[in-house]
Symmetry: C2
Subunit: 210 residues, 2 copies
DNA sequence: AAAAGATTGTGAATAATTTCACTTGACGCA
DNA sequence: TGCGTCAAGTGAAATTATTCACAATCTTTT
């Protein structure tokens, strides 16, 4: 059994390998070299990443595509549906609600919440907007495992607190703050300003190299 | 002069230091220890990050907040306005257009583009939606340095190609693909599916630890 | 003016991650 | 069956990033 520690970045790479596999319908097998070409990661990286979880390849041939896809699904736990609660039904929240792009992967926003009374009770994309007070029971009833935070910065920590109290442990946060949370919670931050500032830094450096 | 190579993650940390500084109005000075408390990064990390760019602190006191803020702005190149082109005026695109949150940092979407004829000519949030053919001249005229890609996956590479051809070198990509681009381009990917899959992996692991 | 106290800046040590390079196993063909 | 080839798996090396720990230095106090 493999006991090595798995690098953080291995997981998103697995997602990308999976995507590449979806586009590889020509052959039954794929080599780490081919996966490397498709994903821009090195072939050694591909092999290393995969062997953290087992030995799936056959020397001389490569990886059986059908099998590898199943394996990655299993590792990521995306074989089944995962229900999501959307917190915040503003512009961004509603855009995420309308974005059905990740439904294919099994993720589904099954409930939405807002504290704005004028929104509560309305339905968008077939999803009813509820008051935050309903969060705990809806999480329980609808078997919600993930929350997406799409509220303004000034109420984001409060929203995160309520989400955690409702029993959710996996959070995707779009608010431009780093929420504080107890151990055992997994919070991923998607922070527009920070990404733009990274780009700005890149532009700055570039303009200096005359 | 410092010549050490700067770790990739130093830059987003600088952004977070800056944010913390905005909230530190009590005193004129702040120590790496205090910044550590505010940002969750270690004090040594704070000092290391800052010294890549110079020596800004005074032993025994810490960093002068006003000065440090200026320094970080200068490093990141966020002291001045950066103009952005939005590619794709669908749900997500329009939500980004409406999100004025990063305007304060000097980032501004000054033009929007779509290939859907029914959208071209309309105005959202004071920004006219134009056809993609207008991209090159608008980039030139409006001094646009950054593009945000918010188009469906199947046309994203094409959009990126056009953006690059128009002379833009910094791209924030929301489409669930890894665009191919020549060297010299900086592309940051914000990929919802991948983040959700990371959360799924986390949930999977968690459920195993019984 | 000296001593005490605080905190920076930084080499060195450690940790994490990726790449290298080689061994081994599987397949296909003569 | 045996040989050649291909590609996985993997320790070791290299690279990258973070943490440690302490000398240097500035401030404050007495």
């Amino acid at each position: 059994m493999h006991k090595e520690k798995i690098p953080k970045l291995t997981i998103p790479r697995l997602s990308l390998y999976y995507r590449a596999l979806l586009e590889s319908r020509e052959s039954a097998f794929i080599s780490s070299e081919e996966l490397s070409k498709l994903t821009q990661f090195s072939a050694a990286q591909v092999r290393k990443d995969l062997t953290y979880f087992g030995e799936f390849g056959t020397p001389g041939k490569g990886y059986r595509i059908v099998e590898l896809k199943e394996v990655i699904l299993k590792i990521l736990g995306t074989g089944r549906q995962r229900n999501i609660a959307l917190i915040g039904a503003g512009n961004l929240g509603l855009a995420l609600l309308a974005y059905r792009g990740f439904a294919v992967q099994g993720f589904r926003i099954v409930a939405a919440f807002d504290s704005n009374l004028s929104k509560i009770g309305k339905t968008f994309e077939g999803v009813l907007i509820r008051g935050m007070n309903e969060l705990p029971q809806v999480v329980r009833n609808k078997n919600i495992e993930i929350a997406i935070i799409a509220v303004p910065a000034n109420v984001a920590q409060e929203a995160v607190n309520k989400v955690i109290k409702s029993g959710i442990t996996a959070i995707l946060n779009f608010a431009p703050i780093r929420p504080k949370a107890p151990k055992g919670e997994e919070i991923l931050n998607i922070d527009l300003s920070i990404e733009l500032e990274r780009l700005s830094y890149f532009l700055k450096r570039k303009s200096k190299k005359v």
